[in-house]
Amino acid sequence: MTFRLTCPVCGKRDVYEFTFGGQERGPRPGQEGLSAEDHFRWTQYRLIPYAPGEEWWYHAQGCGLWFKTTRDPATNREVEE
């Protein structure tokens, strides 16, 4: 699964230059009235089907940008939206 990711600043680079930031799960929920269970679900629970999903990646060895990309866990390739 040596694949590449397209950094919006640096272009296509080897995946090992990046830090994985997990699936897109939307912005941090507001904390007023947030239940413990909702918070811990948001923090840890994910639905990971065999289908492309949005993910966060950080170009740790390069420009230092967090960006979103859509990738298919069944092929490990980025998918054009």
């Binding site: 699964m1 040596t2 830090t19 629970y45 089907p49 993910e55 866990p73």
Partner: protein, 406 residues
């Protein structure tokens, strides 16, 4: 001589449209659960559904290391019982699982890991599981050629030796359990991929498969690395990330490595198989993934690590690399649940890279759970709700960064 009469290990069986119990996943967890359901609980109307061939997933892709030197009490007890089962099963199944009780040696390369080893050692011995703290010289005596000099970036500072551990022939476990389950009437269906799960009124009623619908009263999701994807068919979110873990073997050599060894600092564990290959496993890639693709990166990484630790390994070649999935939870402990969201739905998942050594013992308790609807005491520590209560099992010490993939 009956030895020379060759019989099918498991019988081909007709696919029925309805079973009392359907188990998704023909790996050791699924097969063991089926085996114990039939053998211990008299539930023989069981089908094991496997999308590829039995043992295709993690069961046939691990490095076959078995041990019980865990960090917390609940885990030590579970894996200790697991260790004792190899011998019992070899006899019960009349199939040589080839448990090579060679002991497992962990290497520590920092003051912090020495403290961690001491904690493990004390815990194990207090619980009656043998463990021993070694100095670097003793490590070198156990692992011929191990470099304990200061030449290393991370010199060896201590070893934690765990005599009850060893290596089991992983394929034999799959086949032996299939043999045993089949002998007790369990149906094993290979090439049968589950594509959906049916429920009605809060109950599981069956599965939809590439071979048509199959009804059941109880359903076990025991699909290893694919467990999260199967649960996703019900829209069920889980704290599970499937990650790729890779392993590789060298050309076969005459025996010289007589123990399993591992090193956290170098992200490497290795043992010499009965066939003589050095089988070695690597660290994991962090991103979620359902492929079994290996990478050039780890072939190289592993070579760097092994040749630094044992310089003589520069004299050997890698002949095969492969990958499997590890279903990681935030605390590196499994999730074993019953009637989860739906009556009759059982989940055995999140084993990470501990899925092989736990197979039979997990099957034994999951069978009990499925047969009685009562959570066995042994499984109390492995409930899903611990993640929602922020009560991690403590199986790993490190705090997570963004999630359980890092």
């Amino acid at each position: 001589m009956s030895y020379l009469r060759l019989r099918r290990l498991w019988k081909p069986s007709p696919l029925k449209r309805r079973y009392e119990v359907v188990i998704i996943g023909g790996g050791i967890h699924g097969l063991a659960t089926a085996y114990y359901l039939a053998r211990h609980h008299g539930i023989r109307d069981v089908a094991v559904l496997e999308s590829q061939y039995i043992g295709f997933g993690g069961s046939g892709r691990n490095t076959a290391i078995v041990r019980a030197n865990q960090r917390t009490v609940e885990n030590v007890r579970l894996y200790e019982e697991g260790l004792k089962l190899w011998r019992v099963l070899t006899d019960e199944l009349d199939y040589n699982l080839m448990f090579f009780n060679c002991g497992v040696l962990g290497l520590g390369h920092s003051e912090a890991s020495v403290s961690a080893f001491r904690m493990l050692c004390n815990t194990h011995n207090f619980l009656g599981v043998k463990s021993e703290l070694l100095d670097p010289q003793q490590c070198a005596e156990m692992i011929p050629g191990l470099d304990i000099s200061d030449r290393l970036a991370f010199p060896v500072q201590a070893g934690l030796y765990h005599p009850p551990g060893g290596v089991v022939r992983h394929d034999a476990v799959v086949w032996g359990l299939a043999k045993g389950a089949s002998a007790h009437g369990v149906h094993i269906h290979q090439g049968c991929e589950v594509q959906g799960i049916d429920t009605e009124g809060g109950r599981v009623t069956g599965v939809r498969t590439t071979l048509g619908p199959i009804g059941c009263k109880r359903l076990g999701i025991m699909a290893g690395g694919y467990g999260g994807a199967v649960a996703a068919m019900l829209g069920m979110e889980l704290p599970i990330h499937p990650l790729t873990i890779q392993a590789m073997v060298t050309h076969p050599l005459k025996p010289f490595l007589h123990h399993v060894f591992s090193s956290g600092a170098y992200h490497v564990y290795a043992n010499q198989t009965l066939k003589g290959e050095i089988a070695t496993g690597a660290h994991m890639d962090p991103q979620v993934n359902y492929t079994n693709d290996a990478t050039a990166y780890y072939l190289k990484h592993q070579a760097e690590a092994l040749t630094e630790l044992i310089p003589a390994l520069r004299g050997v070649r890698f002949m095969r690399i492969w990958a499997g999935l590890a279903d990681m939870t935030p605390d590196m402990a499994p999730i074993m649940e019953g009637n989860l969201g739906y009556d009759g739905l059982f989940l055995d998942a999140g084993w990470g890279y501990f899925g092989f050594k736990s197979g039979p013992v997990a099957g034994k308790y999951m069978a009990e759970y499925m047969a009685t609807d009562e959570r066995p005491a042994m499984l109390r520590a492995f409930q899903l709700k611990r993640f929602l209560e922020n009560r991690y099992s403590g199986e790993t010490a490190a705090a997570m960064k963004y999630g359980h993939w890092d």
